[in-house]
Amino acid sequence: MNPTPVLEITRLRKHFPISRGLLASFRRRSAHSVHAVDDISFQVQPGEILALVGESGCGKTTTAKLLMGLEQPSGGTIHFCGQDVATFDLKQMRRQIQMVFQDPYESLNPRMTVFEIVAEPLNVHHLARSREDRIDRVKRALKDAGLKPAESYFNRLPHELSGGQRQRVVIAAALVLEPTVLLADEPVSMLDVSIRAEILNLLTELRQTRGISVLFITHDLGTVAYFADRIAVMYLGRIVEIGPARDVLSNPQHPYTKALLSVVPVPNPRLRRERIILQGETPNPIDLPGGCRFHPRCPVAIEQCRQIDPPYVELSNSHRAACLLIESVL
């Protein structure tokens, strides 16, 4: 029933070895490593918006870097449209997967005009057949990113643009190669509330008009609720729960998802809720706790959680979570 997924990530791992000073480097490779991404699997379907949610240090940005080929995986595979990306060369892959960065104030070169910024990827990939073709493609990208009339932006510099317009330029530069997947790493967290809505709506539109898939990386479940099709919740390098957005939000199963949901502030004073506040911070991914890696902070942990690393429990054919306390309904 499903077409080939655009992205298929299978048991992906990334461990960063840490050196322990000069002496240790004479010995064999250090036994210690940071388990940034530890055995994650998921798929992204064509035209789907998947949100990767978790606190800082949970491995969501490392996952994005692995997908972009900025890091080499320590294990596992990434398939793009059915083909293993290990067989691709970098350029081929990056044409298909483009990234939208967090901070439009930092990610644009202040001395390049909007045209130069958006045309740059075309030069890198030698895609424009002629001058006219280049202008045409840039124009189309700007238009799709909601900067109209496109020509009026050609010669402007980033400092002449507002935050929302800058983020649109960043998106246009990603769109100009006509990629299949957009990786958006916290694309609205630096923007004002009034502009956030317009960028989120733009991403939804792009999915409809261009059939682009979006992998949306964020720590804010509140924003995700509006437009993600599916949500994957990460904790310490693992996906602890994944499922359709509606199911994850209305019927969260993993205690971590429940806690994350409970602390999202709700803009209605009549709905002040009991918050499940986890104490402390995400533990150091070097010394991972044994058993379930969430057990030291888990409000409902039982004895077995210290020993057993919980397997996934299928809650429906598309919703699963890794917790010993969940009973399968299937």
Binding site: A197, P265, V266, P267
Partner: protein, 360 residues
């Protein structure tokens, strides 16, 4: 009026006196800001950063100050603390703290008010601490500088106080001698809060205290602020663009637009019966987890440039329900219901404003 245990001595007479003061029929608010206006002199001309901002704050109360970037939230607070940069001028208004106008105090007197009466939790906890001094040392400094008139406090007592403050914000006192880089973002924000509380202020101004933090750490910090507010009877002014945080934390809300007050009311009224079109749009633009089916509305256009303000209402160029009058006349701030202030011609003239859903 809230009961404030810190004002009571052991002497029964002073208790009686305090009660009498607290029970007076119309007690003066702790902090009252009247028509505060601030201008900046720049190369582009005079910027009207804050114009006619008024509000009151009682003991133990929390006020949320919301609006887009550049609407004058931070400037209002800096003016109130008399900490404006050199090109900033307070051109009008009063800041009454327990009836005393802070704007008329001599500098030395004002220095004493800062930190011991009103203190500030700065934006960007990541960068507000000095990286080359220990956290404990920095907290001790704020006590030494502002806390004690005459500065008589031996090192042992100072150390005790620093430990007590760290304990209050949930930092183990063993970490007193560590440097900011050894702290996580959430802990640095806790240290900033400890510093702000060092001299037992009555009012704490928190400027975007959780903006750079993860949701879980944000919840921890907000929880801590609420706890301290309850335990110490603090009045808090929370500056933020996050409407959801205000809904969870505040009693009163002041919505600012282009340097002026757009709407000022109880938190429930702001969220459930908003009257100003800007407030309505702001709410519609904000994601609400409990209503994932709703569509997010973007507010068209941009905030006004503060040196080229529109002649009439400052929101008029972006307002979807403007009428002719809005172009020419600036709407005054009116109390339309008890405690609910709005600056909008449509509201004061009782013209229908379409519900948010019909806004484009």
């Amino acid at each position: 009026m809230k009961f404030n245990p810190r004002r009571l001595g052991n002497d029964p007479a002073s208790i009686a006196l305090d009660w009498r003061i607290d029970n007076m029929s119309s007690p003066a608010p702790l902090l009252e800001v009247k028509n505060l206006s601030t201008h900046f002199l720049t190369d582009d001309g005079v910027m009207h950063a804050v114009e006619d901002v008024s509000f009151t704050l009682d003991r133990g109360q929390s006020l949320g100050l919301v609006g887009e970037s550049g609407c004058g939230k931070t400037t209002t607070m800096l003016a109130l603390m008399r900490l404006l940069p050199p090109n900033g001028r307070i051109v009008k208004g009063q800041v009454l703290l327990e009836g005393r106008d802070l704007l008329r105090l001599p500098d030395s007197e004002m220095q004493r008010v800062r930190w011991s009466k009103i203190s500030l939790i700065f934006q960007g906890a990541m960068n507000a601490l000095n990286p080359v001094r220990t956290v404990g040392d920095q907290i001790a400094e704020s006590i030494r500088r502002h806390g004690l008139v005459g500065g008589r406090l031996d090192n042992h007592a100072l150390d005790q106080r620093v430990r007590q403050l760290l304990d209050m914000v949930g930092i183990a006192s063993s970490r007193q001698d560590q440097y900011p880089h050894q702290y996580s973002g959430g802990m640095r924000q806790r240290a900033m809060i400890a510093m702000a509380l060092a001299c037992t202020p009555d009012v704490v101004i928190a400027d975007e205290p959780t903006t750079a933090l993860d949701v879980m750490i944000q919840a921890q910090i907000l929880d801590l602020l609420q706890k301290l507010q309850r335990e110490l009877g603090l009045a808090v002014i929370l500056i933020t663009h996050d409407l959801a945080v205000v809904a969870e934390m505040c009693d009163r809300v002041l919505v600012m637009y282009g340097g002026k007050v757009a709407e000022y009311a109880d938190v429930d009224a702001i969220y459930n019966e908003p009257l100003h079109p800007y407030t309505r749009l702001l709410l519609a633009a904000f994601p609400d987890l409990t209503q994932p089916e709703g569509k997010l509305v973007a507010i068209p256009g941009y905030p006004p440039r503060l040196h080229a303000l529109p002649a009439g209402c400052r929101f008029e160029p972006r307002c979807p329900v403007r009428i002719g009058k809005c172009v020419t006349a600036d709407p005054p701030l009116r109390e339309v219901k008890p405690g609910h202030w709005v600056a909008c011609h449509l509201v004061t003239e009782q013209l229908p404003i379409h519900p948010t859903t019909s806004l484009p």
